[in-house]
Symmetry: C2
Subunit: 383 residues, 2 copies
């Protein structure tokens, strides 16, 4: 499986999932929850508690929005893909006024873009909602710099780091984020079913002082329970137990090494794409996935189908409105160099068979990138 | 584990949980989702689609409320325990006016109570929210009859069947319910992490015509996706795969046989309690759990602790405000007669050791009930 989430499960994570049921109101579970919370705080690089929500990443996004935003207020959204769009849709569902800065799918927002937007259309908004790694286009937006210019203009920044956490550095406190959300089935190497939310002190003040109507997604209630190492509602126990293991795996490897591994794997995929004469879809690619532009007149779904049928490999096509026009290789989470070698080899065979590329070069290019040559060093520190 | 949820996991369910990751946008997953939806429809006894929500039972309750209710309207709630209270709390979180019929914990609502309430305080409400099996007190409210009197008075009935589905018959269509919700970790023998929602045609009209602000819990969006055998957001894949197996287990045994087994197990526990000279907490006990009143001057937590430490059995204490004043034996889900025999034997030993009961009689009483004597036959058809 090489999809940008769900991602493969390490064996030790799978073993935990099949354990007999454990009750959530026990000292044993409370100890695990305390450990996973502390581990998530290290991964988000924050001193704020990280809330674990039973739900998808979208539930975590909605939790942030309904706890941070005030009824009727104007919020700003950066939208250059499906997940930027989602912030907009959630805000509209709650009757908020949305001012949006849109760019074409595949392009990246720059700090300059955002500064100009916040001084014009975004002037009245107090919160900026954005995506760090846009999974629909494979683009990494420069979250750290954008947060800087937004803060200079008095804005809070809430970021979707669903496909960047555990892939690229995310330094919640140092960057001055107001909120960030993630899901379990990406860099954290778990099945889907959990969302994670962290908020700054200012974020908590807003949540405590009001917010929009909510019950299940009330972060204040979650935090009060978490102070007693508990959850307000029955959590998805097996996933929380497995989370302890996936955090252990990440920390045993070392977060910097995990980021560097993702950078090497991404560099290998990008190098292979270049050697095959194809173009990346994104102007600023994420290390979590590689989106490849489909040549004019071809259908990207063919690559997806062939890789599945002939190589047993699952990659992702494009999402609306890019269906058929791009395909996406996921390499976030639990991958080894050999997995990437297999992927590149299968991709080369497939694209040559389809007549989209000529044989030769892709594997060597990938190998050089895996060895740490090419662009990997510089990409590993991109945020 | 003898807690009223989470309940023990069958081995075949656990095996599925540890399978390698499966992507949710695949024909394979879509086929499973179509099957689990059809299976849930048979279990809820409805022709309406049953929505699967990644979240707890509370998320499913909130989904019903925000899709059914209209901004600012008055809703009616029956509250004689923690989960009746929860309907009230969710409604208040969305600014609804709540008229409530409360009764003491441990008592049961009757159709007569509810008729009188709906003709007085509940007059203006168009929806009645209630609990079928109240887990905090072990009480089964007469949902079928109450729904009948509410419908005669023009009210929609939304019921929490979290600890009754798969335990007692729930006949969604025939009883004329407007909505019902369940969770995965009870009679459905799964880990927590999924909620289930079903709505009647009238319920869907209300949801489509408005409802309260929501995004993740928007049932209309879920239904549109379900029409394509899909979900709007990433579902908790392993739990859905395991659900297919737990439905198979229930249907292989036969729903009536499953209900009868729960009735026998409940009758055995109640007979043992009587033989031990203790009182049931509830005046109309659910077959999903047995709540036992703690004798005056004693602390129910002692029973919970002794059963855990000396017998390795986990039962539940009382929830606020009944902490210490009752304890609860869960017997919903995957239990065999021998499990109940072990539970009764351990309970007798523990209560004799504590000086709350005299030895002798409990096991025989339980055995007679397991053999189908005593009250089991009549209880098996109580709804």
């Amino acid at each position: 499986m090489f999809t940008p989430g769900p991602t493969p499960l390490p064996d030790s994570v799978r073993e935990i999932l099949e354990r007999p049921a454990l009750h959530h109101r026990t000292a044993e579970f409370q100890t695990v929850l305390a450990r996973t919370t502390a581990g998530l705080m290290r991964i988000f690089q924050t001193r704020q508690p990280v809330m674990t929500v039973t739900g998808s990443g979208t539930a975590a996004m909605e939790a942030v929005l309904v706890n941070l935003a005030r009824p009727g207020e104007t919020v700003a959204v950066l939208n250059a893909g499906k997940f930027g769009e989602r912030w907009h849709a959630i805000a509209r569902a709650y009757g908020l006024k949305v001012v949006e800065h849109t760019k074409a799918w595949g392009t990246a927002f720059t700090a300059g873009d955002v500064a100009a937007f916040l001084e014009e259309d975004g002037r009245e908004a107090s919160i900026l909602f954005m995506t760090h790694s846009e999974t629909s286009t494979g683009t990494l937006h420069e979250l750290e710099r954008i947060t800087g210019v937004a803060r200079e203009r008095g804005k809070l920044v809430a970021a979707d780091v669903v496909t960047s956490l555990g892939v690229h550095p995310v330094e919640f406190d140092r960057w001055g984020l107001a909120a960030a959300v993630c899901g379990s089935q990406k860099g954290l190497m778990l099945p889907p079913g959990l969302g994670f939310v962290v908020m700054s002190g200012v974020g908590w003040e807003r949540a405590q002082g009001g917010g929009l109507p909510r019950f299940y997604l009330d972060l204040v209630r979650m935090r009060n329970s978490l102070n007693k190492n508990s959850t307000p509602f029955t959590p998805s126990v097996p996933l929380v137990l497995a989370l302890e293991e996936s955090i252990r795996l990440l920390e045993d490897e070392g977060l910097s090494a995990v980021h560097a591994r993702h950078a090497r794997h991404a560099a290998a995929c990008r190098a292979a794409v270049g050697a095959l004469g194809l173009d990346l879809f994104s102007e600023r690619p994420s290390n979590g996935l590689t989106a490849i532009r489909v040549p004019e007149g071809k259908d990207g779904q063919e690559v997806v189908t062939r890789l599945r049928e002939e190589h047993g490999m699952r990659v992702a096509g494009g999402q609306e409105p890019m269906k058929g026009r791009l395909f996406r290789l996921g390499h976030m989470g639990h991958y080894r160099d050999d997995d990437i070698r297999d992927l590149v080899a299968a991709l080369e065979t497939t694209l040559v068979d389809l007549g989209w590329a000529r044989a030769g070069g892709a594997r060597d290019a990938a190998e050089r990138a895996l060895a740490g040559e090419a662009e990997s060093a510089s990409q590993s520190t991109t945020t």
